[in-house]
Subunit: 216 residues, 2 copies
DNA sequence: TAGATTGTTAATCGATTAACAATC
DNA sequence: TAGATTGTTAATCGATTAACAATC
Protein backbone atom coordinates (compact mmCIF):
# COMPACT_ATOMS: atom_id res chain seq x y z
CA UNK A 1 0.00 0.00 0.00
CA UNK A 2 2.74 2.43 0.96
CA UNK A 3 5.38 1.21 -1.50
CA UNK A 4 6.47 4.33 -3.33
CA UNK A 5 5.46 6.74 -0.61
CA UNK A 6 8.85 6.84 1.03
CA UNK A 7 10.53 8.51 -1.92
CA UNK A 8 9.59 11.97 -0.73
CA UNK A 9 9.47 12.35 3.00
CA UNK A 10 5.87 12.15 4.09
CA UNK A 11 4.47 15.49 5.23
CA UNK A 12 1.73 15.31 7.84
CA UNK A 13 -1.72 16.69 7.19
CA UNK A 14 -1.27 19.06 10.12
CA UNK A 15 1.75 20.69 8.51
CA UNK A 16 0.14 20.90 5.07
CA UNK A 17 -2.88 22.66 6.53
CA UNK A 18 -0.68 25.29 8.09
CA UNK A 19 1.36 26.11 4.99
CA UNK A 20 -1.21 28.38 3.29
CA UNK A 21 -1.54 30.43 6.45
CA UNK A 22 2.23 30.93 6.67
CA UNK A 23 2.12 31.94 3.04
CA UNK A 24 -0.56 34.51 3.71
CA UNK A 25 1.29 36.09 6.62
CA UNK A 26 4.57 36.18 4.74
CA UNK A 27 2.86 37.80 1.76
CA UNK A 28 1.49 40.50 4.01
CA UNK A 29 4.87 41.07 5.64
CA UNK A 30 6.46 41.29 2.23
CA UNK A 31 3.88 43.87 1.13
CA UNK A 32 4.63 45.88 4.23
CA UNK A 33 8.29 45.94 3.28
CA UNK A 34 9.50 43.67 6.09
CA UNK A 35 12.65 41.92 4.91
CA UNK A 36 13.52 39.59 7.79
CA UNK A 37 11.68 37.89 10.59
CA UNK A 38 12.54 35.47 13.39
CA UNK A 39 10.42 32.49 14.34
CA UNK A 40 9.71 34.30 17.62
CA UNK A 41 8.35 37.42 15.90
CA UNK A 42 6.27 35.34 13.50
CA UNK A 43 4.98 33.28 16.40
CA UNK A 44 3.74 36.42 18.19
CA UNK A 45 2.03 37.55 15.02
CA UNK A 46 0.35 34.25 14.19
CA UNK A 47 -0.35 33.02 17.71
CA UNK A 48 1.45 29.73 17.29
CA UNK A 49 4.65 28.58 18.99
CA UNK A 50 8.03 29.50 17.55
CA UNK A 51 8.98 25.87 17.97
CA UNK A 52 6.19 24.75 15.70
CA UNK A 53 7.17 27.29 13.06
CA UNK A 54 10.76 26.06 13.01
CA UNK A 55 9.67 22.42 12.99
CA UNK A 56 7.28 23.06 10.12
CA UNK A 57 9.79 24.90 7.94
CA UNK A 58 12.40 22.26 8.59
CA UNK A 59 10.21 19.59 7.08
CA UNK A 60 11.32 21.08 3.78
CA UNK A 61 14.95 21.89 4.59
CA UNK A 62 16.52 24.88 6.26
CA UNK A 63 15.17 28.20 5.09
CA UNK A 64 16.67 30.30 7.87
CA UNK A 65 20.01 31.37 9.18
CA UNK A 66 21.21 31.10 12.77
CA UNK A 67 21.41 34.42 14.52
CA UNK A 68 19.47 36.14 11.74
CA UNK A 69 16.11 34.49 11.26
CA UNK A 70 14.34 34.13 7.94
CA UNK A 71 14.41 36.31 4.86
CA UNK A 72 10.74 37.13 4.28
CA UNK A 73 10.76 37.24 0.50
CA UNK A 74 12.84 34.09 0.15
CA UNK A 75 10.65 32.21 2.60
CA UNK A 76 7.51 33.47 0.87
CA UNK A 77 8.75 32.23 -2.49
CA UNK A 78 9.86 28.88 -1.10
CA UNK A 79 6.53 28.18 0.55
CA UNK A 80 4.79 29.29 -2.63
CA UNK A 81 6.85 26.74 -4.54
CA UNK A 82 6.11 24.03 -2.00
CA UNK A 83 2.42 24.78 -2.46
CA UNK A 84 2.83 24.51 -6.22
CA UNK A 85 1.89 28.14 -6.81
CA UNK A 86 4.74 28.66 -9.24
CA UNK A 87 2.75 26.62 -11.76
CA UNK A 88 -0.38 27.55 -13.64
CA UNK A 89 -3.38 25.37 -12.93
CA UNK A 90 -6.17 24.85 -15.43
CA UNK A 91 -9.62 24.46 -13.93
CA UNK A 92 -13.13 23.70 -14.98
CA UNK A 93 -16.27 24.58 -13.09
CA UNK A 94 -18.91 21.88 -12.93
CA UNK A 95 -22.22 23.36 -11.87
CA UNK A 96 -22.89 26.99 -12.80
CA UNK A 97 -25.21 27.86 -9.92
CA UNK A 98 -24.82 30.80 -7.59
CA UNK A 99 -21.85 29.41 -5.74
CA UNK A 100 -20.08 28.24 -8.88
CA UNK A 101 -20.51 31.60 -10.55
CA UNK A 102 -19.22 33.36 -7.46
CA UNK A 103 -16.07 31.25 -7.56
CA UNK A 104 -15.41 31.99 -11.23
CA UNK A 105 -15.93 35.67 -10.60
CA UNK A 106 -13.55 35.66 -7.70
CA UNK A 107 -10.40 37.07 -9.20
CA UNK A 108 -7.86 36.25 -6.51
CA UNK A 109 -7.61 32.69 -7.78
CA UNK A 110 -6.47 33.96 -11.15
CA UNK A 111 -3.74 35.99 -9.47
CA UNK A 112 -2.35 32.77 -7.98
CA UNK A 113 -2.37 30.96 -11.28
CA UNK A 114 -5.68 29.12 -11.04
CA UNK A 115 -7.36 29.73 -14.39
CA UNK A 116 -10.89 28.67 -15.22
CA UNK A 117 -10.95 27.21 -18.73
CA UNK A 118 -14.43 25.79 -19.06
CA UNK A 119 -17.81 25.80 -17.35
CA UNK A 120 -20.32 22.97 -17.48
CA UNK A 121 -23.90 22.59 -16.37
CA UNK A 122 -26.78 20.27 -17.12
CA UNK A 123 -29.33 23.09 -17.34
CA UNK A 124 -29.90 23.98 -21.03
CA UNK A 125 -31.13 27.44 -20.01
CA UNK A 126 -27.55 28.30 -19.10
CA UNK A 127 -25.86 27.03 -22.27
CA UNK A 128 -24.03 29.84 -23.97
CA UNK A 129 -24.29 32.16 -21.00
CA UNK A 130 -20.97 33.82 -20.39
CA UNK A 131 -19.34 34.06 -16.97
CA UNK A 132 -16.11 36.02 -17.09
CA UNK A 133 -15.93 35.39 -20.84
CA UNK A 134 -16.37 31.66 -20.51
CA UNK A 135 -19.44 30.07 -22.07
CA UNK A 136 -21.44 27.52 -20.13
CA UNK A 137 -21.44 24.19 -21.98
CA UNK A 138 -23.51 21.04 -21.64
CA UNK A 139 -22.21 18.43 -19.23
CA UNK A 140 -21.82 16.04 -22.13
CA UNK A 141 -18.87 18.07 -23.40
CA UNK A 142 -16.97 17.85 -20.14
CA UNK A 143 -15.08 14.63 -20.62
CA UNK A 144 -13.63 15.55 -23.99
CA UNK A 145 -12.86 19.09 -22.87
CA UNK A 146 -10.82 17.84 -19.92
CA UNK A 147 -8.84 15.53 -22.16
CA UNK A 148 -8.15 18.12 -24.84
CA UNK A 149 -7.36 21.09 -22.63
CA UNK A 150 -4.99 19.66 -20.10
CA UNK A 151 -7.30 20.38 -17.19
CA UNK A 152 -5.81 19.79 -13.72
CA UNK A 153 -8.62 20.61 -11.37
CA UNK A 154 -12.40 20.29 -11.46
CA UNK A 155 -14.42 22.48 -9.14
CA UNK A 156 -17.59 20.64 -8.20
CA UNK A 157 -20.48 22.91 -7.28
CA UNK A 158 -23.31 20.53 -8.08
CA UNK A 159 -25.87 18.80 -5.84
CA UNK A 160 -24.69 15.68 -4.08
CA UNK A 161 -27.10 13.58 -6.13
CA UNK A 162 -24.91 13.92 -9.23
CA UNK A 163 -21.54 14.62 -7.61
CA UNK A 164 -20.49 11.00 -7.20
CA UNK A 165 -21.31 10.16 -10.80
CA UNK A 166 -19.53 13.24 -12.17
CA UNK A 167 -16.49 12.49 -10.00
CA UNK A 168 -16.41 9.05 -11.57
CA UNK A 169 -16.38 10.48 -15.09
CA UNK A 170 -13.68 12.99 -14.16
CA UNK A 171 -11.54 10.23 -12.67
CA UNK A 172 -11.46 8.55 -16.05
CA UNK A 173 -10.40 11.46 -18.19
CA UNK A 174 -7.19 12.59 -16.61
CA UNK A 175 -8.26 15.07 -13.96
CA UNK A 176 -5.72 15.35 -11.15
CA UNK A 177 -7.67 17.07 -8.41
CA UNK A 178 -11.22 17.81 -7.36
CA UNK A 179 -12.25 20.79 -5.27
CA UNK A 180 -15.48 19.41 -3.91
CA UNK A 181 -18.25 21.69 -2.69
CA UNK A 182 -20.92 18.98 -2.90
CA UNK A 183 -22.22 17.70 0.43
CA UNK A 184 -20.88 14.22 0.08
CA UNK A 185 -17.66 12.29 0.15
CA UNK A 186 -16.22 11.28 -3.19
CA UNK A 187 -14.72 7.90 -3.68
CA UNK A 188 -12.07 8.35 -6.32
CA UNK A 189 -8.85 6.44 -7.08
CA UNK A 190 -5.97 7.31 -4.75
CA UNK A 191 -3.97 9.16 -7.40
CA UNK A 192 -6.72 11.78 -7.60
CA UNK A 193 -6.62 14.40 -4.88
CA UNK A 194 -9.81 15.68 -3.29
CA UNK A 195 -10.16 18.78 -1.16
CA UNK A 196 -13.59 19.12 0.39
CA UNK A 197 -15.30 22.38 1.25
CA UNK A 198 -18.35 21.35 3.20
CA UNK A 199 -19.99 24.68 3.97
CA UNK A 200 -22.92 23.32 5.92
CA UNK A 201 -20.58 21.30 8.12
CA UNK A 202 -18.57 24.43 8.78
CA UNK A 203 -21.71 26.27 9.82
CA UNK A 204 -22.74 23.39 12.09
CA UNK A 205 -19.36 23.59 13.76
CA UNK A 206 -19.97 27.25 14.45
CA UNK A 207 -23.39 26.36 15.82
CA UNK A 208 -21.76 23.88 18.19
CA UNK A 209 -19.32 26.50 19.41
CA UNK A 210 -22.15 28.94 20.13
CA UNK A 211 -24.11 26.36 22.05
CA UNK A 212 -21.05 25.34 24.03
CA UNK A 213 -20.24 28.95 24.88
CA UNK A 214 -23.69 29.28 26.48
CA UNK A 215 -22.83 26.60 29.02
CA UNK A 216 -19.75 28.31 30.35
CA UNK B 1 -7.96 31.71 32.36
CA UNK B 2 -9.62 28.32 32.44
CA UNK B 3 -11.76 28.89 35.53
CA UNK B 4 -15.26 28.03 34.39
CA UNK B 5 -14.18 25.72 31.59
CA UNK B 6 -14.40 22.57 33.64
CA UNK B 7 -18.15 22.79 34.12
CA UNK B 8 -18.82 21.05 30.85
CA UNK B 9 -16.22 18.47 29.93
CA UNK B 10 -13.93 20.00 27.34
CA UNK B 11 -14.45 18.53 23.87
CA UNK B 12 -11.40 18.44 21.62
CA UNK B 13 -11.35 20.25 18.29
CA UNK B 14 -10.79 16.94 16.55
CA UNK B 15 -14.05 15.52 17.87
CA UNK B 16 -16.03 18.69 17.12
CA UNK B 17 -14.83 18.64 13.53
CA UNK B 18 -16.08 15.10 13.09
CA UNK B 19 -19.57 15.65 14.49
CA UNK B 20 -21.11 17.25 11.39
CA UNK B 21 -19.89 14.36 9.26
CA UNK B 22 -21.48 11.81 11.61
CA UNK B 23 -24.63 13.88 11.42
CA UNK B 24 -24.59 13.80 7.63
CA UNK B 25 -24.13 10.01 7.45
CA UNK B 26 -26.79 9.36 10.05
CA UNK B 27 -29.22 11.62 8.19
CA UNK B 28 -28.63 9.66 5.03
CA UNK B 29 -29.09 6.34 6.81
CA UNK B 30 -32.30 7.64 8.36
CA UNK B 31 -33.57 8.70 4.94
CA UNK B 32 -32.78 5.23 3.61
CA UNK B 33 -34.89 3.75 6.38
CA UNK B 34 -32.05 2.17 8.32
CA UNK B 35 -33.09 1.95 11.97
CA UNK B 36 -30.02 0.57 13.70
CA UNK B 37 -26.29 0.51 13.07
CA UNK B 38 -23.22 -0.77 14.89
CA UNK B 39 -20.00 1.18 15.23
CA UNK B 40 -18.41 -1.44 12.98
CA UNK B 41 -20.93 -0.93 10.17
CA UNK B 42 -20.67 2.85 10.44
CA UNK B 43 -16.90 2.56 10.46
CA UNK B 44 -16.94 0.65 7.16
CA UNK B 45 -19.22 3.26 5.66
CA UNK B 46 -17.28 6.30 6.80
CA UNK B 47 -13.77 4.89 6.57
CA UNK B 48 -12.85 5.63 10.16
CA UNK B 49 -12.18 3.14 12.98
CA UNK B 50 -15.05 1.77 15.02
CA UNK B 51 -13.03 2.57 18.09
CA UNK B 52 -12.93 6.24 17.19
CA UNK B 53 -16.67 6.30 16.61
CA UNK B 54 -17.37 4.83 20.03
CA UNK B 55 -14.87 7.13 21.72
CA UNK B 56 -16.39 10.15 20.00
CA UNK B 57 -19.96 9.33 20.91
CA UNK B 58 -18.99 8.59 24.47
CA UNK B 59 -17.70 12.09 24.93
CA UNK B 60 -21.36 12.98 25.24
CA UNK B 61 -22.65 9.98 27.18
CA UNK B 62 -23.77 6.57 26.03
CA UNK B 63 -26.01 6.63 23.00
CA UNK B 64 -25.79 2.93 22.24
CA UNK B 65 -26.76 -0.37 23.71
CA UNK B 66 -24.48 -3.36 24.20
CA UNK B 67 -25.25 -6.19 21.84
CA UNK B 68 -27.46 -3.98 19.70
CA UNK B 69 -25.56 -0.96 18.47
CA UNK B 70 -27.07 2.48 17.95
CA UNK B 71 -30.57 3.54 17.04
CA UNK B 72 -30.05 5.65 13.92
CA UNK B 73 -32.84 8.16 14.45
CA UNK B 74 -32.07 8.64 18.14
CA UNK B 75 -28.38 9.12 17.44
CA UNK B 76 -29.14 11.53 14.59
CA UNK B 77 -31.33 13.63 16.86
CA UNK B 78 -28.84 13.58 19.69
CA UNK B 79 -25.95 14.71 17.51
CA UNK B 80 -28.21 17.37 16.01
CA UNK B 81 -28.89 18.63 19.52
CA UNK B 82 -25.21 18.58 20.41
CA UNK B 83 -24.57 20.68 17.32
CA UNK B 84 -27.27 23.10 18.41
CA UNK B 85 -29.43 22.40 15.36
CA UNK B 86 -32.59 22.18 17.46
CA UNK B 87 -32.44 25.94 17.80
CA UNK B 88 -33.13 28.61 15.22
CA UNK B 89 -30.21 30.87 14.42
CA UNK B 90 -30.63 34.39 13.15
CA UNK B 91 -28.01 35.55 10.70
CA UNK B 92 -26.98 38.63 8.86
CA UNK B 93 -24.91 38.79 5.71
CA UNK B 94 -22.23 41.43 5.61
CA UNK B 95 -21.04 41.96 2.05
CA UNK B 96 -23.53 41.31 -0.73
CA UNK B 97 -21.08 40.32 -3.46
CA UNK B 98 -21.26 37.15 -5.54
CA UNK B 99 -20.27 34.82 -2.74
CA UNK B 100 -22.54 36.46 -0.19
CA UNK B 101 -25.51 36.31 -2.50
CA UNK B 102 -24.80 32.67 -3.25
CA UNK B 103 -24.85 31.87 0.46
CA UNK B 104 -28.18 33.64 1.02
CA UNK B 105 -29.66 31.84 -1.95
CA UNK B 106 -28.47 28.50 -0.69
CA UNK B 107 -31.60 27.05 0.87
CA UNK B 108 -30.14 24.15 2.82
CA UNK B 109 -29.10 26.48 5.61
CA UNK B 110 -32.70 27.52 6.11
CA UNK B 111 -33.69 23.88 6.42
CA UNK B 112 -31.31 23.53 9.35
CA UNK B 113 -32.65 26.61 11.11
CA UNK B 114 -30.14 29.20 9.92
CA UNK B 115 -32.26 32.16 8.83
CA UNK B 116 -30.89 35.24 7.14
CA UNK B 117 -32.55 38.32 8.65
CA UNK B 118 -30.60 41.20 7.16
CA UNK B 119 -28.08 41.99 4.44
CA UNK B 120 -25.58 44.83 4.57
CA UNK B 121 -23.18 46.33 2.07
CA UNK B 122 -21.27 49.55 1.70
CA UNK B 123 -22.07 49.90 -1.99
CA UNK B 124 -25.04 52.30 -2.42
CA UNK B 125 -25.83 50.78 -5.80
CA UNK B 126 -27.05 47.68 -3.96
CA UNK B 127 -29.25 49.43 -1.38
CA UNK B 128 -32.81 48.24 -1.70
CA UNK B 129 -31.88 45.31 -3.95
CA UNK B 130 -33.71 42.20 -2.79
CA UNK B 131 -32.01 38.87 -2.32
CA UNK B 132 -34.47 36.19 -1.29
CA UNK B 133 -36.88 38.89 -0.15
CA UNK B 134 -34.31 40.63 2.01
CA UNK B 135 -33.34 44.17 1.12
CA UNK B 136 -29.71 45.19 1.11
CA UNK B 137 -29.10 47.94 3.65
CA UNK B 138 -26.24 50.36 4.24
CA UNK B 139 -23.50 49.17 6.56
CA UNK B 140 -24.35 52.00 8.92
CA UNK B 141 -27.58 50.23 9.86
CA UNK B 142 -25.84 47.02 10.86
CA UNK B 143 -25.03 47.73 14.48
CA UNK B 144 -28.55 48.75 15.43
CA UNK B 145 -30.09 45.93 13.41
CA UNK B 146 -28.04 43.32 15.25
CA UNK B 147 -29.07 44.74 18.61
CA UNK B 148 -32.75 44.97 17.78
CA UNK B 149 -33.21 41.66 16.00
CA UNK B 150 -31.46 39.24 18.26
CA UNK B 151 -28.88 38.27 15.65
CA UNK B 152 -26.62 35.33 16.56
CA UNK B 153 -24.31 35.00 13.61
CA UNK B 154 -22.74 37.40 11.13
CA UNK B 155 -21.57 35.98 7.82
CA UNK B 156 -18.60 38.02 6.63
CA UNK B 157 -18.13 38.05 2.87
CA UNK B 158 -16.25 41.32 2.58
CA UNK B 159 -12.67 42.07 1.55
CA UNK B 160 -10.04 41.63 4.23
CA UNK B 161 -9.39 45.37 4.24
CA UNK B 162 -12.65 46.04 6.07
CA UNK B 163 -13.18 42.68 7.78
CA UNK B 164 -11.19 43.44 10.91
CA UNK B 165 -12.99 46.75 11.46
CA UNK B 166 -16.44 45.22 10.87
CA UNK B 167 -15.62 42.35 13.22
CA UNK B 168 -14.79 44.94 15.85
CA UNK B 169 -18.15 46.63 15.46
CA UNK B 170 -19.97 43.30 15.57
CA UNK B 171 -18.14 42.32 18.73
CA UNK B 172 -19.61 45.34 20.47
CA UNK B 173 -23.23 44.83 19.60
CA UNK B 174 -23.99 41.39 20.90
CA UNK B 175 -23.13 39.08 18.03
CA UNK B 176 -22.23 35.59 19.22
CA UNK B 177 -20.50 34.05 16.22
CA UNK B 178 -18.82 35.06 13.00
CA UNK B 179 -18.65 32.90 9.91
CA UNK B 180 -15.63 34.49 8.30
CA UNK B 181 -14.99 34.21 4.56
CA UNK B 182 -12.55 37.14 4.51
CA UNK B 183 -8.92 36.22 3.92
CA UNK B 184 -7.68 37.28 7.28
CA UNK B 185 -7.75 36.24 10.90
CA UNK B 186 -10.12 38.14 13.14
CA UNK B 187 -9.09 39.16 16.60
CA UNK B 188 -12.29 39.19 18.62
CA UNK B 189 -12.98 38.71 22.35
CA UNK B 190 -12.90 35.07 23.45
CA UNK B 191 -16.63 34.86 24.08
CA UNK B 192 -17.24 35.40 20.36
CA UNK B 193 -16.83 32.30 18.23
CA UNK B 194 -15.20 32.47 14.82
CA UNK B 195 -15.33 29.82 12.13
CA UNK B 196 -13.09 30.60 9.18
CA UNK B 197 -13.69 29.52 5.61
CA UNK B 198 -10.52 30.44 3.81
CA UNK B 199 -11.24 29.34 0.26
CA UNK B 200 -7.95 30.34 -1.26
CA UNK B 201 -6.11 28.42 1.44
CA UNK B 202 -8.21 25.38 0.68
CA UNK B 203 -7.31 25.65 -2.99
CA UNK B 204 -3.62 26.04 -2.14
CA UNK B 205 -3.83 22.86 -0.12
CA UNK B 206 -5.21 21.06 -3.14
CA UNK B 207 -2.40 22.52 -5.22
CA UNK B 208 0.11 21.11 -2.73
CA UNK B 209 -1.47 17.69 -2.94
CA UNK B 210 -1.26 17.71 -6.75
CA UNK B 211 2.37 18.74 -6.70
CA UNK B 212 3.19 16.09 -4.12
CA UNK B 213 1.42 13.41 -6.13
CA UNK B 214 3.71 14.15 -9.08
CA UNK B 215 6.75 13.15 -7.04
CA UNK B 216 5.53 9.70 -6.17
C1' DT C 1 34.11 37.78 19.63
C1' DA C 2 29.44 37.96 21.77
C1' DG C 3 24.66 37.74 20.82
C1' DA C 4 21.02 35.91 18.49
C1' DT C 5 18.44 32.50 16.51
C1' DT C 6 18.22 28.52 13.87
C1' DG C 7 18.09 23.34 13.22
C1' DT C 8 17.34 19.31 15.65
C1' DT C 9 16.99 16.08 19.42
C1' DA C 10 14.51 14.82 23.47
C1' DA C 11 10.37 15.29 26.47
C1' DT C 12 5.66 16.00 26.79
C1' DC C 13 1.22 16.03 25.58
C1' DG C 14 -2.92 14.61 23.28
C1' DA C 15 -5.35 11.84 20.09
C1' DT C 16 -6.08 7.37 18.06
C1' DT C 17 -6.33 2.51 18.30
C1' DA C 18 -6.57 -1.91 20.61
C1' DA C 19 -8.42 -4.77 23.97
C1' DC C 20 -11.73 -6.52 26.92
C1' DA C 21 -14.95 -6.54 30.78
C1' DA C 22 -19.72 -5.10 31.21
C1' DT C 23 -24.19 -5.88 29.69
C1' DC C 24 -28.05 -5.87 26.62
C1' DT D 1 -28.35 -18.52 27.96
C1' DA D 2 -25.11 -17.36 24.10
C1' DG D 3 -23.83 -13.84 20.95
C1' DA D 4 -23.06 -9.32 19.91
C1' DT D 5 -21.53 -4.93 20.66
C1' DT D 6 -21.04 -1.21 23.61
C1' DG D 7 -18.47 1.68 27.09
C1' DT D 8 -14.11 2.32 28.91
C1' DT D 9 -9.38 1.47 30.25
C1' DA D 10 -4.79 0.72 28.66
C1' DA D 11 -1.33 0.86 24.90
C1' DT D 12 0.31 3.05 20.98
C1' DC D 13 1.13 6.44 17.94
C1' DG D 14 1.88 11.04 16.28
C1' DA D 15 2.11 15.87 16.93
C1' DT D 16 3.54 19.69 19.73
C1' DT D 17 6.60 21.89 22.79
C1' DA D 18 10.93 22.50 25.25
C1' DA D 19 15.73 22.60 25.32
C1' DC D 20 20.12 23.33 23.65
C1' DA D 21 24.13 22.62 20.73
C1' DA D 22 25.43 24.39 16.25
C1' DT D 23 26.51 28.37 13.79
C1' DC D 24 25.77 32.68 11.51
Amino acid sequence: MEETRELSKEISQAVISRLPRYFRYLGELKDEGVTRISSKELSDLMHVTASQIRQDFNQFGGFGQQGYGYNVEFLYDEIGNILGLNKTHHLILVGAGNLGQALVNYMNFKRRGFLFRGIFDKNPALYGKKIRDIEVQPMENMEQFVKENNIDIAVLTIPKTSAVEVAGILSNCGIRGIWNFAHCDLNVPPHIQVENVHLSESLMKLSFLLKNEELE
